[in-house]
Symmetry: C2
Subunit: 250 residues, 2 copies
């Protein structure tokens, strides 16, 4: 894998704006860097350590627990599920990553991935060599700050589900969360495809699959949502958000 050497920062602002900015349009990371006021030469520096990989197909693993960690990745398209196997071989779903979200941050500590990551549909990634990025970050304080922020953001994100909430509250929070995250990337917040199986949702929410079915059915009976297989429409976002409130702490 031959990489162009890191270029020295060019002094001064750049004339044309179009080129460098397009380098990873769906990637939250790049976008955040942009909004941080990175100049184009900095973005270019960042660009050279980016590698577009994929497609990964449904069921294909992006990495497995224990693999050497070298890179973090932003999801460009598709959905990634992370999970671990407990000592008895039981799967435990840790999270779902939608387009624009960054995966692998929890691997820095031990320099190994602490979990498995699998594609739930066709997945495209934007992979950043972490060592190179860290090196670059010593020259670009804005990049360093961005990385610190990204890492900090993920701390305690899982704590939401840790509370002892009812199945209704958990499910509502899950749907609201998906809705908002899709909205952030320009997808419809009210209609979207559930890319994960019911069993995965259940596992993630620490519920039995049967409970997921029952709750979704009740939500539909009560006019909160419309579910048809994996197609979901949110009919009463306000009431759903109200249910989710304690979980999302608002």
């Amino acid at each position: 894998m031959s990489e162009p050497a890191l270029r020295r920062p060019r002094p001064g602002p750049i004339a044309d704006d179009g080129d460098a900015l397009r380098f990873c349009s769906t990637c939250a990371f790049s976008q955040a860097c942009l909004s941080q006021g990175f100049d184009k030469s900095s973005l270019n520096d960042l660009h050279v350590l980016v590698e577009h990989v994929g497609p990964f197909h449904e069921g294909e693993h992006l990495f497995r627990e224990g693999d050497d960690f070298t890179a973090i990745a932003a999801v460009r398209a598709g959905t990634v599920k992370t999970y671990v196997l407990d000592p008895s071989g039981q799967e435990q779903v840790l999270g779902f990553f939608l387009p624009g979200e960054v995966i692998g941050l929890n691997a820095i500590h031990h320099a190994r991935y602490p979990c498995n990551a699998v594609a739930l549909d066709t997945v495209m990634l934007c992979r950043f060599s972490f060592p190179k990025m860290a090196l670059l970050a010593t020259r670009l304080p804005g990049l360093q700050a961005q990385l610190f922020r990204l890492l900090s953001q993920d701390i305690g994100k899982a704590a939401l589900l840790a509370g002892d909430y009812s199945s209704d509250q958990r499910m509502a929070a899950f749907l609201v969360s998906l809705s908002r995250r899709y909205a952030e990337r320009g997808f419809s917040p009210s209609r979207f495809h559930l890319t994960m199986a019911r069993t995965d949702m259940a596992n993630y929410l620490r519920l039995a699959p049967e409970t997921v079915s029952r709750v979704l059915r009740r939500f539909q009976d009560e006019g909160l949502v419309q579910v048809e297989r994996r197609e979901l429409e949110i009919l009463d976002a306000a009431r759903l958000a109200a249910l989710a409130r304690p979980v999302l702490r608002e």
Copy 2:
């Protein structure tokens, strides 16, 4: 609360080796930096942005949700509890921080503390100005790496409790975790003081206080532990660890 003024950095390297290294002996952060092979002048650079604060007394808050974030802190002595209040005003315990552990990492993202922190007993802190440390980290790649590692480590730490484990497993995991963390700092792994109230343990473990009482009592009846008020002795560490295994994933 009169604090001793921050001491000016002494210029140049230090003659004797004992001095700089002792600057925060209980602080995991400094220790990790040491083991990273930091040279003495780097440690000195780190030293100047450290501020020893305290004592905080039982019930006193170190910071509150929404406070401006300026510094992370390592606990030097005592125990800190972090918690949030849910919309209905109900307290939710997020974690306990023992000597050597670093607090405030989840505040970087929004530049505000996302939770409250209160002293459970007499607490001494070692406070690091985060902006200054980040700046220093651009010059010391080892420090930057250490920070990334520290942040990464905390991601998904809360996920342990998120699983749907039995009350026995949760309690066992909690005790084993305390035991190990105390051991890491040179305290006895088999005998220690429970610095938090039963209600706090229960809240943290997402159990009713009554359940905590019952489980501890049963553990004692079964010869796993000996509890006398807040004094705890682990009698059968192996069996306790076996119970905790699914939670701690080993």
